[in-house]
Every structure is written in structure tokens, then in C-alpha cells.
């Protein structure tokens, strides 16, 4: 998928601002951002649900999004169904729209099996739990064996076991079904666990993009360490006198959090010792995607 200069305005408010994105075949791309950052709007623009004011989108090598959707499955926000129809009937509707023809029945059986809903396929969709609806949404998105999947907050509203099931399903789709996945989520630990690349959106603009490892590595230069000493007052005085570092608040077990920047930890230790502080602990805080995310969006 290639997106260049994608822009969408609502009146004077620019919701998506000159967005550039590239998703390679086989990527599991995490599309992150706080609420209102423009993630869903961007996904809707990319999929042709809403108009774009400017920019170019290419999906699976095609600029004709309608045609490209034949090889794309998507869940935007909470998937919706005709509640009075069974889960299977809802899938039959989608299969007819996709023109699956003779493949309809085996394909529906396959996707129902894939998401673990084969036993409940005849139940009315309105009787499904939220987790089942999410899975039925995935089943619908998987009809016709798409090459790319768009998932907008697929774990929203799910309980912990539902989240776990969904995460396993997504992971398995990426691993075993060779599907390129573009996923937006607030659950950063999950994104870190299943995505190889991420983009972080804030105020409609892409603020950071890269592999998860590279982003964490890049942020390591702005690392944080927790420093502990018997005399906390002396420690704080000494820290205040050292150039190139900033105190980032209280840490765990009475320690002080320090953003040490480019200063090597060994040198930080030496300076504290020189200042007469008896350092008891110097614990680097392990960086996560969440730390990177917070730094980008704040």
C-alpha cells in the first residue's frame, strides 16, 4: 500500500494532513495514535468510504480502490451486521456482493472454521456477543482470501479473554495465511508483540514511522535510568549540577528517574561518586513501544 499526501478536512479542521504511508507485502503494520488523531478517517479515506481532499492511494498496486477492494478485507470500527439474519446469512450477503459464485459455501465454511464460529453460524447475529461479532467481522473480511487486511481497533470492547483470542487470531493470520495486515490499536503491548512496523499519528500527521525495533532503538538515546542513593537530598543536588541530563520525576523504591540523553551511564555514575553521592542503584528503564508512543504524542 502506498499513500502519498493524503489529506482530509472537515470544514477548516484538517483531520488527516498530508499523510504518507508505505506498507510492504507481508508487513504487520501498526497504525497508532491517540483518540482523534485521524486514524479511522485515514483508513476510511484509503478504503474509499469517504472522499479525500488531496493525495494519492495505491492498494496492491492499483489506484482504482474499488477494484483493489476485491483483494482486501476490512473491519472499520465495530463490524455491523443485519441482526435479524444468521451469521451465515450475513456472510452469504457479503459473498454475493463479492461475486464468489460457486465458491460461496466452501468459502463461508472455511472462514467460519477459521474464526471458530462454525457451531454458532445459524444463530441470529443480534444474539452474538461482542467478541463473536468481532470474529464474524474477521470472517467476513477473510471471504475471498484477501491479500491485505485492515483492522481498525479489532480488540475494542473485548474482555481479556476475547482480546487474547483476537490477538492469537491476528498473529496466526499474519503467520499462516500470508496476509499483509494494517492494524490500528490502542493496545501498544499487543502492537509491539504482533507488528513488525508501526506509524504514529498525531493531529493527522505521521510523527514517527519505522520498525518497532528501530523506533525503540532510536529512542534509546533518550533513555531513562532510575538512580538510588542512601542520601536522596544529596543525590538530587548532585543530579541538578550535572549537564546533559534531566530529572524525570520519582522512580520506584524511592529512586529518582533521570533522562540521561547521550551521557554514558558509567560517566553519570562517576560524576555522582565525584560529587560524594553513594550510589546504591543505577537501573536502566527498559524502553517499550508505549514509551516511544508517549514521547511522540505528548
Amino acid at each position: 500500500m502506498e499513500v502519498r499526501g493524503l489529506t482530509r478536512r472537515y470544514g477548516k479542521h484538517v483531520v488527516v494532513d498530508s499523510l504518507d504511508l508505505t506498507v510492504q507485502v507481508g508487513d504487520v503494520y501498526g497504525f497508532l495514535g491517540p483518540n482523534g488523531a485521524g486514524k479511522t478517517t485515514a483508513m476510511r479515506c484509503i478504503l474509499g468510504l469517504i472522499r479525500r481532499d488531496a493525495g494519492r492511494v495505491e492498494l496492491l498496486g492499483q489506484a482504482d480502490i474499488t477494484r483493489a477492494r476485491a483483494q482486501v478485507g476490512a473491519i472499520i470500527e465495530t463490524p455491523t451486521f443485519h441482526g435479524w439474519m444468521s451469521g451465515r446469512a450475513n456472510l452469504e450477503q457479503a459473498a454475493l456482493l463479492s461475486g464468489l459464485g460457486a465458491q460461496t459455501k466452501p468459502e463461508i465454511d472455511r472462514v467460519l472454521e477459521r474464526v471458530g464460529l462454525a457451531d454458532r453460524a445459524k444463530d441470529r447475529a443480534s444474539n452474538y456477543s461482542l467478541g463473536m461479532r468481532q470474529r464474524l467481522g474477521i470472517a467476513r473480511a477473510l471471504l475471498g482470501r484477501p491479500k491485505m487486511l485492515f483492522l481498525d481497533e479489532p480488540t475494542n470492547g473485548l474482555d481479556p479473554s476475547g482480546m487474547h483470542e483476537m490477538r492469537e487470531l491476528i498473529r496466526s493470520l499474519a503467520l499462516h495465511d500470508d496476509i499483509t495486515i494494517f492494524i490500528s490499536s490502542h493496545l501498544l503491548a499487543e502492537v509491539q508483540a504482533i507488528c513488525n512496523r508501526v506509524g504514529i499519528l498525531r493531529d493527522g500527521k505521521l510523527r514517527a514511522e519505522g520498525t518497532v525495533a528501530a523506533l525503540i532503538e532510536e529512542a534509546r538515546g533518550q533513555g531513562i535510568v532510575e538512580v538510588g542513593a542512601a542520601d536522596k537530598a544529596a543525590l538530587e543536588r548532585a543530579l541538578g549540577a550535572i549537564d546533559g541530563i534531566t530529572v524525570a520525576g520519582a522512580g520506584t523504591a524511592g529512586r529518582v528517574r533521570v533522562r540521561y540523553g547521550e551521557l554514558p551511564l558509567a560517566q553519570l555514575n562517576r560524576r555522582l561518586l565525584d560529587a560524594g553521592v553513594e550510589v546504591e542503584a543505577l537501573v536502566p528503564v527498559t524502553r517499550t513501544l508505549e514509551d516511544v508512543f508517549m514521547e511522540v504524542v505528548q
Partner: protein, 278 residues
């Protein structure tokens, strides 16, 4: 395209108002010959009983004319009954799906917008025709069994055909309003408001036409009023009344119905092409 149409038709036929509409149409078709026949029989029985008690000679039994069941079925279906269903079903086909966000799910398939809209409209038109046939065919068969005589069968069947055209026009108009308003209450209110305005205009023109009291030099207004009246939507919707030999077929009404169909669908496509689907 055919599979998109099939999807829309099966969805429409699974909706409660659509099913109810078809049942009501069928009940009208089946019941009307029996009601007309029964009414005539009741009148005959009452007349015979009165004649017997008065010592007067009794009348011979003669069944109703062949066309009378069809005529009452046509009148009944066009007296708001099917119109109400047409408005209900027409409004849920697009607006309810937009509001429930199921339209988005359809849009996520590889379906061009025009094709999707056309399939929805075609499903509606098919439903409207099915409702017409479900009244006409059983009514015709029932009449053939129960009744005889009369020479207006073809004329009334032509009335049914004109009624079908009016149904398609109404359903197309409702569909266009539902695309423009994207809300079921908005569609019903919009269609109702249009009807009220159209009837009000028709009434005003009717009064003006009846008065024929235009100031000197303004007689041409009367000519225009007479020419405009048959083109009103409400007049066009009554085009089916042309079955009656004493009421000439209003060709303007039939043309107007065709214009409404084409215009409504064009407006729907134009609006939907630019629409953001939530």
C-alpha cells in the same frame, strides 16, 4: 451485477415491512373477489328474504361482473395501503442501512457505488412489481372462478399496469429522498411534506381552475393552470384511473411518472457518488 442484485433482493425480502407488504398485497388479491361476491350474495339474500316476507316475486341470482373484484382490489391497494408500504420499504432500503452502518460493510466489498445503488433500487422495483402481481393474479383467478360477464377486465388490468408505473415512481422518489436525507424519519417526513405541498398546490390550482375568474388580460393564467395540473405528482399518481372509459388517460401523468423515475435515480446516484459513508 446479477449477484449484487440477488444480495439486495434477498436482503429486502428478509425485512419485516417488505414481507408484511407482500402478505397484505396477497390477502387483498385473494380476499377481494370473495368480499365482492359475498357482498353481492348478502345483498341478494337480504333482498330475497324481504321480497318473500312481502309476498313479492324474488329476483334471480346473478354473480358480480368479472372485473368488479379487480376494480375493488385496485382501488383498495391505491388507497394509501400499498403507498404506505412503498414508503416504509423504500426508506429502510437505503437510509436504515446508512444509519445502522451496514451500508459501510457493503461498501467494503469490491462493488462500484453506482452498481450498489442500482441493485438496491432494482430490488425495490422488483418488490413493488411483486406486490402488484400478488394482488392482480390471485384476484384475476378468483374472479374467473366466482364471477362472469362484464367487459372491463382489460381496462382495469391496464389500470393495474399504470398503478405499477406509479408504484415504481413513488418508490424511486422515496429512495432518492432516503439517499438525500440518510435517515428513515427524515425520509418519511420528507415524502410526507412533499405530498402535502403537492396536494396543496393541486388544491389551489383546482380552485383557481374552477373559479375561472381571472382579471381581464390575465385569462392566460387559467390556460396555464389547466396545463400544469395534470403534471403534478399527485395527479400523476392517479394515472391508473384512466381505466375508466369516462376518464381519459392522462398522458402527462404517465410521462411525469417516467420523469420522476429517471430524475429520482439520477439524483440518488449524484448524491451517493459524493457521499461519505461512516
Amino acid at each position: 451485477m446479477l449477484s449484487i442484485y440477488r444480495a439486495e433482493l434477498s436482503k429486502l425480502l428478509s425485512r419485516l415491512p417488505a414481507r408484511l407488504g407482500l402478505i397484505v398485497a396477497l390477502v387483498m388479491g385473494v380476499a377481494m373477489p370473495m368480499v365482492v361476491y359475498g357482498g353481492r350474495w348478502a345483498a341478494f339474500a337480504a333482498g330475497t328474504s324481504m321480497a318473500l316476507s312481502a309476498g313479492a316475486p324474488t329476483m334471480d341470482w346473478s354473480p358480480p361482473e368479472l372485473h368488479s373484484g379487480l376494480l375493488w382490489a385496485l382501488r383498495t391497494r391505491n388507497f394509501f395501503v400499498m403507498g404506505t408500504f412503498l414508503i416504509l420499504v423504500g426508506s429502510v432500503t437505503f437510509a436504515a442501512e446508512y444509519q445502522a452502518r451496514t451500508l459501510r460493510e457493503d461498501m467494503l466489498r469490491a462493488v462500484p457505488r453506482v452498481a450498489l445503488l442500482f441493485a438496491k433500487w432494482a430490488a425495490l422495483v422488483s418488490w413493488a412489481f411483486a406486490s402488484l402481481l400478488l394482488t392482480w393474479i390471485p384476484c384475476l383467478l378468483g374472479s374467473l372462478v366466482l364471477m362472469s360477464g362484464g367487459d372491463k377486465l382489460l381496462a382495469i388490468s391496464a389500470g393495474f399496469a399504470a398503478s405499477g408505473l406509479a408504484d415504481v415512481a413513488l418508490v424511486s422518489f422515496v429512495f432518492a429522498v432516503s439517499v438525500l436525507t440518510r435517515s428513515v424519519p427524515g425520509t418519511i417526513a420528507g415524502v410526507f411534506l412533499f405530498y402535502v405541498l403537492d396536494y396543496a398546490l393541486g388544491l389551489a390550482l383546482g380552485v383557481a381552475s374552477a373559479l375561472h375568474a381571472y382579471p381581464r388580460g390575465y385569462e392566460w393564467v387559467g390556460t396555464i393552470v389547466d396545463q400544469v395540473q395534470p403534471w403534478l405528482f399527485s395527479s400523476a399518481m392517479n394515472a391508473w384511473k384512466g381505466w375508466d372509459p369516462t376518464v381519459p388517460w392522462a398522458w402527462q401523468g404517465l410521462v411525469m411518472l417516467c420523469l420522476v423515475i429517471v430524475g429520482s435515480f439520477t439524483a440518488s446516484v449524484a448524491a451517493f457518488q459524493r457521499m461519505d459513508v461512516p
